[in-house]
Symmetry: C2
Subunit: 350 residues, 2 copies
């Protein structure tokens, strides 16, 4: 452990393109970001991939015997396979050998492993998955949570999501004065289903949450909100729709732009500009979701992640670690409860 | 009533750009589509707009004294203003002077007026708003319902939405063998919240619904499904998000494409192709939502509708009329209940 650099455990076996693309993304991260990588998985398979990158830095391998495949039932398989790569990766964080985990494997299993192995942050009723979207405003992002951890949410959970989202926006995304919205079907406080109505009330009354009102579907990407809370059912549908619509747009452009002679010439001229458009809208450029509310930094990447996504996911983990997102959530929660921070920290550590 | 052409009542006073853009769209529809238009609203204001189109066909005006503005509470204002344009327009359908209504006014008021003035189709528990989206497959659309009429839905309502959506897809969109999906957070039948789980069961067991399984957010625009059912909370958020994301892409293209000298030249060359892309993704090109389940054809357009949207909305109404969507829904519902069609029709007429 000669290095003082933060270590991030990467589940090398999780995802449609594991281990090749996972390892490739991890190598790039270890070279370009100031971090150490622990590759968790089958040493033989990982070594074979590393041999295709002979000039790269040597990465440490942490052996794991098993993998949880995409079609297994999360809880059963996590218990039946204690040495599965996702379990081993979480244990590295639990035992303080790593500061964060990145996995593109079974997302339900990653979520459950995070919850079971790391536990919840004190006071947090339910962890949530946050997804960071680009907005219409240049260099401005919005974090939407929950995008899939909880299909049914009580108003109290959504209130906590708002608090965690605010902390993330403030410290990890550097928004000085984050604005929080509640995803709903109208601007007025009287709009929405029962959960939305009650949550509106809670958010409005909480002095620790900078709530500015309901966010409609059209407001999600407007840049007007920095944090948007919703239950995991709506959030997950929105996230997957957003990912797919990027593909629809790119395909529409691919079909229509090169049409005709002028089209072919124009498209050729525009190549670098089109690449920038692709970067701005392509979901593969965004690293993954953050599991907020467990006692460790966990990034849950898309199953279809290739090297660039994994690189971005590792960067996301590093940013959360560098900005002490966990500690900030804990402090912020304690303040919202009127508790002393020291008492919460000591009880978390115990 | 010398003409045998179908008549469509257009709420000339509803929408951000009323009456000018509404009337302009209606004029175009009366010239290009084989229909008659009844313009409902303040005769003075409508006449003033008509004078700007001196060469156009003369449209009939049906006077209405009042308007329901965007910020009024629907039920109260509908009752307090019986002569509001939306009420008068609905009455034209009720009294068989028109076969359909198009309104870009207060959508909650349009929905309530449809329900109160026209009533529900026999057996239908809740009307739903259906929105037709383009898909990744050329010339293939998907109808998503409900996109805003019912924030909370029982499984039984969603089952009826599936039936109405199937009929619409089959007869108005011409899909021979429509495939129905349930919007959910996973493909497996065990995924989702309580309502989703119960609805899955109902859809699977109903021999009159060609249910092929859950549709995730990414599947909405894939073209794999012809009909997707969801509650009005999720559907409305999805609809508004989809509308806005088109704008995000168009703005990203406007910002990035003309960048640099090559960019400017390339963009100039691509002008016609870019126009086609805009047409394919711009929500203004799609007419509006269909209020399915009330006893009349009602198209609820976006408040920001301008002439092209209104034209498309009127075309949507005409298609629904031409293909006898109401009668088909009624027949299909009766069949699903094992009733004779004649008995349902006679009880509807009574």
């Amino acid at each position: 452990m000669g290095s003082t650099r933060e270590k991030i455990a990467v589940d090398a076996m999780g995802g449609d393109y594991a281990p090749a693309e996972i390892v490739a993304g991890a190598i790039r991260a270890s070279e370009e970001l100031d971090i150490e990588i622990l590759l968790v998985g089958d040493p033989h398979q990982i070594e074979a991939v590393l041999q295709n990158h002979p000039t790269s830095r040597k990465l440490e391998i942490v052996p794991a015997e098993d993998v949880i495949s995409m079609h297994e039932e999360p809880l059963t398989s996590l218990r039946r396979k204690p040495k599965a790569s996702i379990n081993v990766a979480m244990d590295l964080v639990k035992n303080k050998r790593a500061s964060g985990v990145v996995s593109a494997g079974h997302s339900g299993a990653a979520m459950a492993a995070g919850l079971l192995r790391l536990g919840r942050l004190k006071g947090i009723a339910r962890p949530a998955i946050g997804a960071v979207f680009p907005t219409l405003m240049a260099n401005k992002s919005v974090i939407v949570l929950d995008v899939g951890a909880n299909v049914d949410c009580r108003p109290k959970y959504l209130e906590q999501f708002a608090l965690m989202g605010k902390v993330y926006s403030q410290y990890a995304l550097g928004v000085e004065d984050p604005k929080v919205g509640l995803l709903n079907i109208g601007e007025e406080s009287c709009k929405g289903n029962d959960v939305a109505l009650q949550t509106y009330q809670l958010l409005e009354e909480n002095p620790h949450i900078p709530f500015i009102g309901n966010a409609e579907g059209r407001d999600v990407l407007s840049g007007q909100f920095d944090v948007i809370v919703c239950d995991g059912f709506v959030g997950n549908i929105l996230l997957k729709f957003a990912e797919a619509i990027g593909d629809v747009l790119l395909q529409t452009m691919r079909e229509e732009l090169p049409y005709g002679l002028r089209g072919q010439l124009g498209t050729a001229l525009l190549k670098p500009n089109l690449r920038r458009i692709k970067q701005r809208i392509d979901h593969a450029e965004h690293g993954g979701g953050l599991l907020l509310g467990v006692d460790g930094i966990c990034i849950i990447s898309h199953g279809s992640s290739q090297a660039p996504s994994i690189f971005n996911a590792i960067r996301l983990a590093k940013e959360a670690i560098d900005h002490q997102v966990l500690e900030r959530i804990q402090t912020s929660y304690a303040q919202s409860q009127g508790q002393s921070v020291a008492s919460v920290q000591s009880s978390t550590e115990s």
